[in-house]
């Protein structure tokens, strides 16, 4: 029998493999990765610096151990050039079922200036290693993007002693994910740490050195520039497979091509592209069952996201796109509870001590996919 083959050894690929092995100990299993295949926790990348974590520290399980644990063949540093048929470096590989767990690429603004090519982003362990090297002799860090990842990095780096500045086109952090007062509460907490914000503006030019010119005329100096403006699903190689924003799959995580499945940051499940841990875990568990012979649909309960900004504890569960309603704010000072009512509860954002209500409120939220 040809192996079940998973492309990608990030959280999505490895979790499917792990869950599959709980159900089927022996069927041949092969994973293919373009990097070295060590298992690490990606969510930790955005708060690893202040804890003085080296890339090596972040490796939870080395690839040699993963091979043993999963009883799987893991091909590392392997560039897949085609999915149909599956081709690596001009060699064709057979599979029984193929799982695309390709991840997503950071979005980069196209910027003018001779320093533009030096903008960093941190989306995997290798990126983190580069970032850490760049910070070695740095003092000033400019972060493009005041979203979840931008704010997490800002909090972590300021805590580690850097002078951090954040730039975003939106008027407050976390843009449309939260009501203004929640964004401002986070902003105030980060400002109290010493972080500087520039809102309603964007970077237009980066000169070596670095000197950043903003669209509002401000000029900033930086030793390191980090871009954290979002992710885009990796779909480039999926030429015969239906793509919208991500690789289009149904509730069985199945693409339009027989025996090819997809999950994680590269996949669009019933119109939803959700690059977070919880959706991926739910998808991996369902897909593992399907691969083991019991076709299983994925369910998405409401999945609140914990934002790792210790300066302002924050949990958000934004309403689904297109849901109409209003934010209702309760609480005082830095301890706020924002409920999105439509007219029933459809989303929330909690700060400070109110984060304790996460579980109770999550139970009242509508599921995203039932």
């Amino acid at each position: 029998m040809h192996p079940i083959t998973i492309i990608g050894t990030g959280l999505a690929g490895y979790t499917v493999a792990r869950e599959f092995r709980k159900l089927d100990k022996d069927s041949p299993l092969r994973l293919i990765t373009a990097d070295d295949g060590h298992f690490y926790s990606k969510p930790m990348l955005s708060n690893a610096f202040s804890q003085n974590k080296t890339p090596e520290n972040l490796v939870a399980i080395p690839v040699t151990k993963m091979r043993e644990q999963l009883n799987a063949e893991i091909l590392t540093n392997a560039q897949v050039t085609q999915f149909t048929p599956l081709t690596i470096q001009d060699k064709q590989l057979e599979y029984s079922k193929l799982v695309l767990a390709l991840g997503a690429d950071p979005i980069h603004l196209s910027l003018a200036g001779d320093g533009a090519a030096d903008v960093l982003s941190v989306n995997d362990l290798n990126d983190y290693a580069k970032f850490r090297n760049a910070l070695a002799n740095a003092k000033k860090v400019v972060i493009m993007g005041a979203g979840l990842i931008g704010c997490e990095f800002a909090n972590d780096l300021q805590q580690a002693g850097f002078e951090v500045t954040i730039i975003d086109l939106a008027p407050h952090p976390l843009g449309r994910l939260v009501p203004k007062i929640i964004g401002q509460t986070l902003q105030q907490a980060l400002q109290d740490l010493g972080i500087t914000f520039h809102f309603d503006t964007t970077v237009t030019n980066i000169a070596k050195g670095y000197k950043l010119t903003l669209s509002d005329g401000n000029i900033l100096e930086a030793d390191v520039v980090l871009s954290a403006i979002g992710l885009f699903p990796r779909t480039k190689l999926a030429t015969n497979i239906m793509i919208n924003r991500g690789i289009v799959v149904n509730r069985y995580l199945q693409t339009n091509v027989e025996n090819i499945y997809s999950l994680g940051d590269c996949a669009e499940v019933e119109g939803l592209v959700l690059p977070f841990v919880m959706p991926l875990m739910n998808a991996a568990k369902a897909l593992a069952k399907t691969l083991a012979g019991e076709p299983t649909q994925v369910n998405y309960p409401a999945m609140p996201v914990v934002v790792k900004t210790p300066a302002c504890p924050l949990v958000i569960s934004p309403p689904a796109l297109g849901v109409k309603g209003e934010w209702q704010i309760e609480g005082e000072g830095r301890n706020l509870k924002a409920l999105f009512l439509s007219p029933k509860l459809a989303g929330f954002a909690l700060t400070g001590t109110c984060v304790a209500e996460k579980m109770a409120l999550a139970k009242d939220l509508p599921a995203l996919l039932v």
């Binding site: 959280l11 926790s41 939870a60 919880m278 875990m281 304790a356 579980m359």
Partner: protein, 58 residues
């Protein structure tokens, strides 16, 4: 507070379980030892089980 309480960390998402603090909102009182956390308990952030946690050296 006793200083022999330990902290366990989810290797998947980085969530930390602190024995001293417990998770009262999930029915795990402060001071609950890791061994006494129910086996069916799941990481509140990523839903993996107890086996995916490791002890943090403090």
């Amino acid at each position: 507070m006793s200083d022999d309480f330990k902290v366990y960390k989810c290797v998947i998402c980085g969530f930390e379980y602190n024995e001293a603090a417990g998770i009262p909102t999930e029915g795990i009182p402060a001071g609950t030892r890791w061994d006494d956390v129910p086996d069916e308990w799941l990481c509140p952030e990523c839903q993996v089980g107890k086996s995916d946690f490791e002890m943090l050296l403090q």
